[in-house]
Symmetry: C2
Subunit: 319 residues, 2 copies
Amino acid sequence: MSEILILGGGGMVGQKLAARLRADDPTCSLTLFDLGYPPEGVASATIEVGDLAAPGALTDLAQRRFDTVYYLASVVSGDAEINFSKGYDVNVHPMFAFLEALRAEHEATSGAYFPRVIFTSSIAVFGGPYPAAIPDDFTTSPQTSYGAQKLICETLVQDYSRKGFIDGMSLRLPTICVRPGKANLAASSFYSGIIREPLNGQEAILPVPDTIRHWFASPRAAAGFLAHAATLDTSELGIHRALNLPGVSCTVADQIEALRSVAGQAAVDLIKPQPDDAIFKIVSGWPEAFTADRATALGFRAETDFCQIVETYIADELN
Amino acid sequence: MSEILILGGGGMVGQKLAARLRADDPTCSLTLFDLGYPPEGVASATIEVGDLAAPGALTDLAQRRFDTVYYLASVVSGDAEINFSKGYDVNVHPMFAFLEALRAEHEATSGAYFPRVIFTSSIAVFGGPYPAAIPDDFTTSPQTSYGAQKLICETLVQDYSRKGFIDGMSLRLPTICVRPGKANLAASSFYSGIIREPLNGQEAILPVPDTIRHWFASPRAAAGFLAHAATLDTSELGIHRALNLPGVSCTVADQIEALRSVAGQAAVDLIKPQPDDAIFKIVSGWPEAFTADRATALGFRAETDFCQIVETYIADELN
């Protein structure tokens, strides 16, 4: 029986992933660790409440020798940009402590313990200027603290994997859209808000021009990426342990057009432009599209247009 | 009067840099910090002995608010590969502690303290396969722990600079050759040994095939890069704070040919092939050549052929 740990299991993606893993394998052992959980959480999972930045928290978890660890826990981009110390304290130092603790278990078992570690990185590791479609070997050069923190963790995951202490990989997720629930401090939060709020009969604020283009996948696709990563033959990754995942490239105008085609003009009328320079500054530096050739060849799949993403939200959240 | 700190000032490059800075400006204040120093050290510099990995050591130095800090201190590549914990303990954690201490001074002075920080990174941040000449925007993907540690520090220097806490940059030095003195644990050590030992009438071991191509600059060029970096208008760096520096691309056979042309066949006869798979594995993954367009446009200069590098060694070390 496979023993699985999800760090950040209380978050939106963590919950989607837990439900997906439970559906895929009713016999797997699922342990979730997070600061808190939504009241309608996933059934049949062990829920643990704790702070991964607390001394010793991750060491205790590492000593339980889970077969597969999903490392999703993170301060989001907007928060990490405003609260510099908090970003590093949560997004970098615990990863290092955790990898060290996993290495200790690896060595205590003479190498027999060799966990699969799947880290959710981000396309925020890149910095412009970008080509129209970013190739798999495009250079990283973070333009936010969040991106810098993700790149540092990727670098650690690759080095610990190369040394044979863990079997790790980093998945550079597209912006996840449409996120259910409430807006958060992520600079990308409005990308979901302009679809989610109108579909729920509420006004949404659009803080950037509708010509901005970005890269998306649904929460369902994100759970699918993560489930697939656990089954991957990592020898196919070679030495490069970070993957750009597939997604949908579209402008805000394309998003709005998809909303109109699915839900009509009345929904679109609920979107209220309200420019925010701070958000514009962050998101205008983000990538617009990726080739994602390696990940696609390795079997990772996402939606192919934004209408599908809207329909996924309706199917998974509103029915 | 400019106040300059060189972390790792007792090392070979640190000593060359101190001599160069002293020659350029007899009035500057030079402070060197390192575990130890060669007996024939640079005159007119304040020599401090200490361990930057010791608790508080770098905080004390940061509080002295040097105008310019050179961060050269590092465990070398071969050592970092064998001694995993030591590599991170010396090459990563002190950098983070130092940047945090500099940020505290920046904030304590309401931003008035804004030091120039020049970090010596390495071409080991890259991973193959490589194009014949690596462009400035080639992706980083370290294949050694040393390279991973340098990339993590680069990422920190860029993020602290982007946030305006320091005015930092990372210089990806070519392999420095011909190093004076003794062989060290760097996997690249033999590149100097096969020139230095024969020029001193001693046998040298060549652990790799002579078809291996690599990227070089002399110690004199390295000191020149670092001196130039202190005077650079960093607004020209834009958002990308790491630079690939210029150098000479040549094979081991080219190196040997240069030695023959300068010192004759008797010198070449002192080179003894003795294959070492561990060294071959590391150095065969290293880059062979760079375009270094950005650094060249910014005024960084190196030798243009390996004969010049041999002649620099003879002029600076044997006369």
